[in-house]
C-alpha cells in the first residue's frame, strides 16, 4: 500500500518597485520577510540540510554544508505560525508551504502564501508612505533569461526513491521511461503560459510553460544552472530510512486552482502507482529536453514528439497513456480515504485531456496557459497588435500580480471567468495563520506558538529547545505523518512549560 503523499510547495516570488528600475531585489526581499511580525527569535536550523547530496550516491558540490551567521539567519528567515517558512532565497522572497496531506489543502496553502506576501507589501507601504509600491508576482521568468522556481515536494517511500535513483552509473529506468515523459508532457495541464521565448530557444509567439526554456539536462541535483528535468537532490527532511522527498523543480507557478490541483494530483497518482507496483507503460522520449521546449512552443497541442520506440505522439496522447493505468488504479480502490481526491483527479484529468485534444481554448476558464492566451490574444486582436508588442508582455506579467485588485488572474476570477477547485476562501483564510492538522506541521506550529521563546532553532523535521541552564534538546519530527492534531493536541494543551512538554515527550512527539 502506498504511503500518503504529503505535499509541499516552494514559491520564489518576483519583486519590483513601481516605476523604478534601479531597485535591489535582495533588499526588497529582506524588507518583505521582516515586515511580518516574527512569532519568536527562533532561527532556521541549517545543520540538517544537504542540498548538494545527489540521490545517485555522490556530492554534486565540494561544499558540504550551508553556513549562515546568526545575524543573517535571523534576517533571512521568518518562521510563520501556520507552519510555513518565509525567507530570502537568492534574490527572491520564498514561501515554503507547510506539509499538506490533501490536494485542496496544498492548493489553499499555496494561495495563502499569496495573501501573506500581499499583506507584507501592504505593511511596508504603510510603514514607508510616499515610497514606491513594492509589486509582487507569482511567476517564473523575467524575459531576460532569468528563471526562479515553484518547486513541488512529494513524500515517497525510501524503497521506491532508491529505485527511481539507482546508484550512478546504473541506467535510471524509471526516470527515463516514466518520470521524464510524464513531467515533460504534464505542462499541457499546468503550464502558466508565456509570451515569447528566451534563454536561446527558438522564437515563438506564445508558449505553454514559463519554465520549459530553462532546462538543459535529464537528471541532476542542481537547480540554479544546468537545470535538470528530474532533480536528484537527496534531502529527505524526514527519517531517510523510511521516507524521501521527491523534489520536482520543473513546474510552473500556478494561479489557476485547476492547474495547481492537476499538477499536484496527477504527479501524486503516478508516485502512488509506483509504490503499489502498478503496471505502467514505457513512454521514453527520444530527446526529452528538446521535446520539453517543442511541446511548450505549440499551443495547438497537436505537434507530435519522437518517442524512443519510434512512435510519434502528441503530449496529450502521452498524458492519455498515463491516464489509462491511473484510471484503472483508482477504480481498483486501494485506499478509500486517498481515493476520494484521486477519483476527482482522474475525472478532471480525463475531461481536460479530451478538451485539449479537440479545442484547447475551451479550457480558458480552467487552465492558466489557456486563460492567459485567451486574454492576451483577444486584447491583441482588438488592438491589432503584433505578438512582439511589449504590451502583451505586460499583460503576461500582470496575470501573476498577487494583488487581488490588480492582478489579471484575479480580474478573471472576479468576473466569473475562472473556475475554482476550492469552494470559497475559507481554507485559504485559515492557512494564513493556522497549520494543516494532519501532518507534523501542526505540532511544529503549535510548539512555536506556545513555547517559541524556548525554541532556539527549527526546521522541517526538528525543533531545538533550550530551557534555562539545561543543555539544549533537539526533538526530531522524523515522520511527516505524525505530530498531527489528533495525536498531539492533548499533549500540547496539558504542558504548561517547555520542560513539561519535553518530559511528556520523552524525546518523541
Amino acid at each position: 500500500m502506498s504511503i500518503p503523499k504529503v505535499i509541499g510547495l516552494e514559491q520564489e516570488y518576483a519583486v519590483t518597485l513601481q516605476g523604478r528600475s534601479d531597485f535591489d531585489p535582495i533588499q526588497i526581499s529582506f524588507l518583505l520577510v521582516n515586515s511580518l511580525k516574527k512569532a519568536s527569535d527562533t532561527l532556521w536550523d541549517y545543520r540538517d540540510e544537504s542540498p548538494f547530496l545527489d540521490a545517485r550516491g555522490f556530492n554534486a558540490s565540494e561544499e558540504k554544508e550551508i553556513r549562515v551567521s546568526h545575524r543573517d539567519n535571523y534576517r533571512i528567515n521568518n518562521l510563520l505560525l501556520n507552519g510555513a517558512r518565509l525567507y530570502v532565497d537568492h534574490a527572491h522572497p520564498e514561501f515554503s508551504t507547510a506539509e499538506c496531506r490533501s490536494l485542496r489543502e496544498a492548493v489553499a496553502f499555496d494561495r495563502a502564501g499569496e495573501r501573506i506576501l500581499e499583506e507584507a507589501a501592504r505593511r511596508l507601504a504603510r510603514q514607508h508612505r510616499g515610497s514606491p509600491d513594492i509589486l509582487i508576482y507569482k511567476n517564473n521568468s523575467d524575459y531576460k533569461g532569468n528563471s526562479y522556481g515553484c518547486h513541488e515536494n512529494y513524500l515517497v517511500e525510501s524503497r521506491v526513491y532508491d529505485q527511481i535513483f539507482p546508484a550512478y552509473p546504473a541506467y535510471p529506468k524509471l526516470i527515463s521511461q516514466l518520470l521524464v515523459p510524464f513531467l515533460v508532457t504534464r505542462q499541457v495541464l499546468c503550464g502558466s503560459g508565456k509570451v515569447g521565448s528566451e534563454n536561446g530557444t527558438a522564437p515563438c509567439d506564445y508558449q505553454l510553460s514559463q519554465r520549459a526554456d530553462f532546462f538543459e539536462t535529464l537528471i541532476g541535483a542542481n537547480t540554479t544552472s544546468r537545470r535538470p528535468i528530474v532533480n536528484s537532490r537527496d534531502e529527505p527532511h524526514a527519517d531517510r530510512k523510511r521516507y524521501r522527498r521527491l523534489h520536482v523543480i520543473l513546474g510552473d507557478a500556478n494561479m489557476s486552482e485547476t492547474s495547481s490541483f492537476l499538477k499536484l494530483g496527477t504527479t501524486q497518482l503516478i508516485l502512488r502507482m509506483l509504490e503499489d507496483n502498478w503496471a505502467l507503460p514505457n513512454l521514453a522520449i527520444e530527446d526529452p529536453v528538446r521535446a520539453l521546449v517543442s511541446i511548450s512552443h505549440d499551443p495547438s497541442c497537436k505537434a507530435p514528439i519522437a518517442m524512443a520506440d519510434g512512435r510519434r505522439l502528441t503530449a496529450v496522447e502521452v498524458q492519455r497513456l498515463f491516464w489509462e493505468p491511473a484510471s484503472e488504479y483508482v477504480t481498483a480502490g486501494l485506499e478509500p480515504a486517498a481515493n476520494a481526491e484521486a477519483r476527482e483527479v482522474v475525472q478532471l484529468w480525463d475531461s481536460i485531456l479530451s478538451a485539449l485534444s479537440k479545442e484547447p481554448m475551451e479550457l480558458a476558464d480552467r487552465l492558466d496557459w489557456v486563460a492567459k492566451l485567451a486574454l492576451i490574444d483577444r486584447y491583441r486582436s482588438r488592438r491589432n497588435l503584433g505578438w512582439d508588442s511589449p504590451r502583451l508582455k505586460v499583460l503576461d506579467i500582470q496575470y501573476h500580480d498577487v494583488r487581488r485588485g490588480r492582478g489579471l488572474y484575479y480580474l478573471l476570477l472576479r468576473e466569473g471567468r475562472m473556475r475554482r477547485m476550492l469552494a470559497d476562501d475559507t481554507m485559504v483564510e485559515r492557512f494564513i495563520t493556522q497549520p494543516p492538522e494532519s501532518t507534523r506541521a501542526y505540532f511544529r506550529s503549535k510548539c512555536m506558538e506556545k513555547f517559541g521563546h524556548g525554541i532556539t532553532e527549527a526546521n522541517w523535521d526538528a525543533l531545538t529547545f533550550s530551557v534555562g541552564n539545561q543543555k539544549s534538546q533537539k526533538i526530531r519530527l522524523a515522520d511527516p505523518l505524525k505530530g498531527t492534531r489528533a495525536l498531539t493536541e492533548h499533549l500540547l494543551q496539558s504542558a504548561t512549560t517547555p520542560t513539561e512538554l519535553l518530559e511528556a515527550l520523552g524525546g518523541h512527539p
Partner: protein, 71 residues
C-alpha cells in the same frame, strides 16, 4: 420547443448540456460583448499608467522587470 430550434452546447469538463433558442443566443451574444468590453476596460485599468503612451510605457515596464535567477 422543437429539437431543430435547440442549440446544444456541451461543456468540455462536465458533459453538462444546455439548450438555447436563437433569440436567446442573440441576447447572450450582446451580453457577452458588453462583458468583454468591460473586461477590456478593466484590463486597461489594471495596466494603469502603461496605457497612456502604451507601447513606450509597456517597454519601460518590461525592461524594468529585472529579476535574478533563483532556486
Amino acid at each position: 420547443m422543437s429539437e431543430q430550434k435547440k442549440v446544444k452546447k456541451e461543456s468540455a469538463s462536465t458533459g453538462e448540456q444546455q439548450s438555447t433558442q436563437p433569440e436567446d443566443l442573440q441576447e447572450a451574444g450582446d451580453r457577452i460583448e458588453q462583458e468583454l468590453d468591460r473586461l477590456d476596460q478593466m484590463i486597461e485599468d489594471a495596466l494603469g499608467e502603461h496605457e497612456a503612451d502604451a507601447e513606450k510605457k509597456a517597454q519601460e515596464f518590461v525592461d524594468g522587470f529585472k529579476q535574478k535567477g533563483g532556486e
